[in-house]
């Protein structure tokens, strides 16, 4: 079966055409033969009958009976009727004896004379199809009704035979003509089929239909395997294609193809974007709490939009990628800061040693060590979570480089964080808030940032305090909005991200600000997922 399917379209069409034409020719010829044969048979019967009757009325024949049966007279009659094409004429006496015939070669031998009795006894004339000497014939019988003046008497019968073969020959002649024309038509058909297939092949880039089908299936597989959601609509907004990812992203049931986009998609922004004649780049749309980024490509033909293809990406995925990058960046920054700090200190020690001020050097090393130890001790003793430890250590280095006094509150305590609180969340929340605090104290003479954490009770509370200039009155409105920053362009995602992250953890963020004393950010995170509603 598969092999049959792979027959080139050219052969398929040619075979079809040839079969069609041949069957039409056969059918029409058969119909023609049947109709013509019936028609001709009827005509031949009529003609044979007419001939028999006409001969039976021939005055010369009647003269034969009236003038004492001179054989000569009958001979004349026979000679006259000999000229009739394809017919043999017999003259029969009442007792059945054939007295004369045109059948000189004796083709029909002994006639079945019983068939003539209807004429001889009842004087009826009739025609029939019968067989004489194994030849199919039309036989017409007419009585010779001789008029003797007062009365008439049946003296014999005229029998006319017409061989049916003659009809077949005539029909065969016609069929030969039909066949000649048919062959021409057949060749025309083959030529037309050939041209048609060539034209089709031209349109299909010389691809066979099964190849096109294979490509189509391949394209479908590709579309469905792509991670990006792809959706296409036609000019009326009818969905023509949705791949698996798009269906997942938009939470569409199967079988939305063929439906209007308005029926299945709720987001008006998306519909507007899809129906726009302009290419849309990175449009953010919100569908069922899912942030999706859409890019569209309208298909324009002759200045008219005949369809649109849209690619869809889940923004949460992009965010995860950004987070991962920022995490790595933060670590490398912190490490760089720490190594820089150590290099500086090493230089200081090197200088003291070169100046031969051994005591000073020892004193410096001691003070540095205790200072580090003091902060580290708090970190390692009070805070049990390694992730928070790591973040705080990194920030300590950063603060040291920036000459900021980063103090971990002695009263801090943290036993361990719930699993849903991931490292990236912590980096986003703590990293951003601490960095912001560092930025806030940048201009101060006395740079002080305090960090406090506690997990007493149902919540984990982080508190970051700085002694910066506080938050300006006019900024408070949009503090957590995207793109709002006092730090310049392309910034301002910090607090927005922090808030999104905290909300996703069912937490709350609060702040209090004093124009000159500084700002305190307090984050409340529930310990368990179960206590989601506790803080709202």
């Amino acid at each position: 079966m598969k092999k049959l399917l792979k027959v080139p379209i050219k052969i398929k069409i040619l075979v079809l055409i040839v079969i069609l034409i041949i069957s039409i020719i056969v059918l029409l010829s058969a119909m023609y033969i049947v109709m013509k044969l019936n028609d001709d048979m009827a005509k031949a019967e009529e003609l044979t009958m007419q001939t028999a009757k006409t001969i039976s009325y021939m005055p010369a024949l009647h003269d034969y009976y009236n003038s004492y049966k001179l054989v000569n007279t009958l001979g004349n009659v026979v000679n006259q009727v000999k000229k009739i094409d394809n017919m043999e004429v017999f003259f029969q006496k009442r007792n059945g004896m054939i007295i004369a015939s045109t059948d000189d070669e004796y083709t029909f031998g002994e006639l079945t004379i019983e068939e003539h009795e209807k004429a001889l006894i009842y004087g009826s004339s009739y025609v029939m199809q019968t067989v004489e000497e194994d030849k199919k014939v039309i036989k017409a019988v007419a009585p010779i009704m001789v008029d003797y003046g007062e009365y008439k008497k049946v003296e014999g019968a005229v029998i006319v035979l017409f061989e049916v073969n003659h009809l077949y020959e005539a029909i065969w002649e016609d069929i030969r003509e039909i066949l000649k024309v048919s062959v021409i038509i057949l060749f025309l058909g083959i030529f037309a089929g050939y041209s048609l297939t060539n034209s089709i092949r031209k349109d299909t880039l010389n691809l066979e239909p099964y190849e096109i089908a294979a490509m189509f299936r391949e394209r479908n597989a590709i579309l469905h395997s792509v991670k990006e959601g792809i959706l296409s609509i036609d000019e009326k907004g009818m969905i023509t294609m949705v791949n698996t990812s798009a269906a997942q992203l938009l939470t569409l049931e199967s079988g939305v193809e063929g439906r209007l986009v308005e029926e299945v998609i709720s987001s008006e922004v998306m519909i507007e974007g899809l129906k726009s004649c302009k290419k849309q780049v990175n449009v953010e749309i919100q569908i069922d709490e899912k942030a999706i980024i859409m890019n569209t490509q309208p298909i324009i033909e002759a200045g008219k939009r005949i369809g649109t293809v849209a690619s869809l990406r889940d923004r949460t995925e992009i965010k995860r990628m950004i987070d991962a990058i920022s995490e790595v960046k933060q670590y490398s920054d912190d490490l760089r800061a720490q190594s820089h700090e150590f290099t500086n200190k090493l230089y200081a020690i090197l200088g003291l040693l070169q100046l031969d001020k051994k005591e000073k050097a020892i004193e410096f090393i001691n003070s540095e060590a205790t200072l580090l130890k003091k902060e580290e001790k708090i970190i390692f003793t009070k805070i049990k979570d390694e992730r928070v430890q790591a973040i705080l250590l990194g920030k300590l280095g950063q603060a040291s480089e920036k000459k900021i006094d980063f103090v971990i509150d002695k009263e801090s305590s943290l036993e361990g964080l719930p699993d849903n609180l991931t490292l990236s969340s912590l980096i986003i929340i703590l990293g951003n808030l601490i960095s912001n605090a560092f930025d806030a104290v940048k201009e101060n003479a006395l740079k002080e940032v305090k960090f406090f954490v506690t997990d007493i009770g149902d919540e984990i509370i982080f508190e970051i305090q700085d002694n910066g200039t506080g938050i300006a009155e006019e900024m408070t409105q949009q503090l957590f909005e995207k793109g709002q920053s006092s730090k310049g362009k392309n910034r301002g995602y910090g607090l927005f991200n922090v808030q999104v992250e905290i909300e996703s953890l069912n937490g709350v963020i609060e702040y209090s600000s004093d124009e000159h004393k500084g700002t305190i950010f307090t984050v409340y995170l529930p310990k368990e997922e179960g206590s989601k509603n506790g803080n709202h």
């Binding site: 009842y122 004339s125 007062e150 008439k152």
Partner: protein, 363 residues
């Protein structure tokens, strides 16, 4: 068809049509899968149309209002013959006794031994009738006609004449068997007069009788007289022929007058007015040969129409005028209603087939 039926059919038609329409349009993409369904619906549709047309065609004929126009009685012969007389008598008696309200006309369609008139009737509606006789059957058996009695609706057999075989008074035959004895010995020497043509009842009755006496039909020496019965009798009286076969009415008077001798009649029993003439049966030739005439309609007449004529013609043959007609023409009452006539035709068809078959005609 009444209005409710019609409305029902129209509704049905509409429903089917709308259904098919919707199938084709709305579900066009599922055509392949639902192809079978569509074929089903199409069949239903075609059936609905058929029922509709069938009902409407019934409505033209099935309303019981028959006849709705003039009745035409076809006499398949020229005016003056037995068929013409029968047709005109039927016309007159039905009208005079007010049996039929509609006008009745007689149309003469002569030719082909009835063939022309009957072919004409075959194409007409049920308001056309035609007079018939045994020629309706024999024409077909003799190869003269394609039409058979089964192509028509028999309505009634009306009357019959009887056949007679007569010889001249001084012929040496005491009875019919003497005649056949002579024929047997020398067929050519006995000339038998018949008219107006071969293959009629006069001819066939003699052939049948001869056959029963083992005389082959082809040996019989028939002289055909165009003028019919009258000429035949003249030929007998002039001793041009040795015997004649003809209708009883042609020879009855001459027999009574002693100018010729009727050897036998083809009736069942001896006839009242000819008590001295034996029947063929009595002479040991076991046959009864009526020369009947009847009336028939075109093919496919309805039950109601047949019943109508059974009533009317049944009434007609009881009338005095009809009795008078029979007496005047030496006909015997031979009335059979439509169903009896049908059976009679079947029986006659067998008889003629055998008869013509015996003479070697039907192969």
């Amino acid at each position: 068809m009444n209005l409710i039926d019609f409305k029902f059919l129209i509704d049905n038609f509409k429903k089917t049509f709308t259904f098919i329409y919707s199938e084709f349009n709305i579900n066009s993409e599922f055509n392949k899968i639902r192809g079978v369904d569509i074929v089903k619906k199409l069949v239903v549709f075609v059936l609905a149309v058929l029922i509709l047309t069938a009902c409407s065609s019934n409505s033209t004929s099935g309303n019981g209002e028959y006849p709705t126009k003039n009745i035409e009685v076809v006499a398949p012969a020229s005016p003056g013959g037995g068929w013409d007389l029968t047709a005109r008598s039927v016309q007159k008696i039905l009208k005079d006794n007010s049996l039929v309200d509609n006008n009745i006309n007689v149309i003469n369609k002569p030719g082909g031994g009835g063939e022309v008139g009957w072919s004409y009737l075959h194409t007409k509606d049920s308001h056309y009738l035609a007079v018939n006789s045994s020629l309706l059957l024999t024409n077909h058996f003799l190869g003269q006609s394609k039409l058979t009695y089964e192509d028509f609706t028999p309505l009634a057999t009306l009357a019959t004449e009887w056949q007679a075989i007569a010889v001249s008074v001084d012929a040496p035959y005491e009875n019919i068997n003497d005649l056949f004895e002579d024929i047997k010995n020398d067929p050519a020497s006995i000339k038998i007069g018949v008219g107006p043509g071969l293959g009629n009842d006069d001819h066939l009755s003699f052939v049948q009788a001869a056959g029963m006496r083992d005389v082959a039909a082809k040996d019989l020496n028939f002289l055909v007289y165009d003028g019919g019965g009258g000429d035949v009798v003249t030929a007998l009286l002039g001793n041009h022929v040795n015997a004649v076969t003809t209708s009883l009415s042609e020879v009855k008077e001459q027999h009574i007058a002693g100018k010729l001798k009727i050897l036998a009649v083809s009736s069942e029993d001896r006839l009242e007015e000819l008590e001295d003439v034996p029947t063929l049966k009595e002479e040991g030739i076991d046959m009864v040969f009526p020369h009947w005439r009847g009336i028939m309609g075109p093919p496919d007449m309805t039950e109601e129409e047949i019943k109508y004529w059974d009533e009317k013609l049944g009434e007609m043959v009881k009338s005095e005028e009809w009795a008078e007609l029979l007496t005047n023409n030496d006909w015997d009452d031979f009335y059979q209603n439509s169903s009896d006539t049908k059976a009679f035709f079947d029986e006659q068809a067998e008889l003629y087939k055998d008869l013509i078959g015996e003479s070697g005609l039907v192969q």
